[in-house]
Symmetry: C2
Subunit: 196 residues, 2 copies
């Protein structure tokens, strides 16, 4: 097994943790250097500027998400269960506190002050998740495995907003389980058992 983490990977992982905890402006190259065990200048060798670093980070975050969501759709057929797995994924991340927040949800709040290159990547992530959720909603609607009350596209946006808002609340209250509590009514409503 190839456990060999390269230095750029270590830097990106560390940067992701720092971004998720406080956003773009809350960390410095010095912070990363201390955690990774390397000098500041060495980070500049791998990522010439902070913009390069975070742009790469967000782009890779989106790629990883694409792979993960594709795998999820392979393993789980029922659209309702796919959405549940998606929500559960975040619930577990929040409880683990290892990846307690969606990188892009956090960066989106800072969008007006973000460097343009990073802002573009963040916006692309939103469009990606939105279109993926829309496709799930459409499939569920056709199959009858999802109980939609609105257009699939709107349901997808509303679902994403609930997930992001629930992340915020979980962070504000400091109690991870409110995430699942907030999502529960949404999941219940989407279940065809509750169709009216």
């Amino acid at each position: 097994m190839s456990n060999l983490k390269t230095t750029p990977d270590d830097i990106l992982a560390c940067a992701r943790a720092l971004v998720t905890s406080g956003g773009y402006n809350s960390f410095s190259y010095a912070d990363i250097a201390e955690v990774v065990g390397i000098r500041k200048a060495s980070i500049h060798h791998h990522f010439p500027s902070k913009v390069d670093l975070v742009r790469t980070l967000v782009a890779r975050y989106r790629e990883d998400a694409a792979v993960g969501l594709a795998a999820l759709e392979q393993n789980v057929q029922n659209p309702l269960e796919v959405l549940r797995a998606y929500a559960d994924h975040w619930a577990m991340c929040i409880e683990d506190a290892s990846r307690p927040f969606c990188v892009c949800a956090l960066l989106a709040s800072e969008l007006p002050t973000l460097p343009p290159e990073v802002a573009l990547e963040v916006k692309a992530f939103f469009r990606f998740i939105s279109s993926w959720l829309t496709s799930i909603m459409e499939r569920g609607s056709k199959e009858g495995s999802l109980n939609l009350e609105s257009d699939p596209r709107i349901e997808a946006e509303a679902f994403m907003a609930s997930v992001h808002g629930a992340m915020l609340s979980a962070r504000a209250y400091g109690t991870p389980d409110v995430f699942a509590t907030i999502l529960a009514p949404t999941m219940a409503r989407l279940s065809p058992a509750n169709a009216h």
Copy 2:
């Protein structure tokens, strides 16, 4: 009419605009000084430290919200209409781009890296809005003017999460109207006309 804004008020207003656009770490005293037309050191006279400034800002933000929400409840009796007015308030703020984001929703995303004093105020704001929304939900549930599918407390949390998430999406897409679009299904579901 007393249009006379005091200097501390100007500073707070400017700080609020800067916080809503990029969070705690995205602005400096120098930024405020430039906008208000004052020197950096003069700001320190009114707010000795940045923590003092933002703590005061959030505390006053909550007081203003308390006054505004109390007035809203005076003017509008129907709980459903209260919620609609609450959502419309944010929709207008987002379209005006003057106050395009809830200060505390934004600061909540930075909570782990926020100075403790500020973090406390932000958490207090969440509890305040949550309990206010809960009281509205309870009243609407008793009166039959709101169609709740879950516990009023949970409905309140879910509603707040939707609002916050919709703010994020509106910012990410750069199209303010998606806020109203996302909230529409939630509002429709709460209407007693849609009871099942």
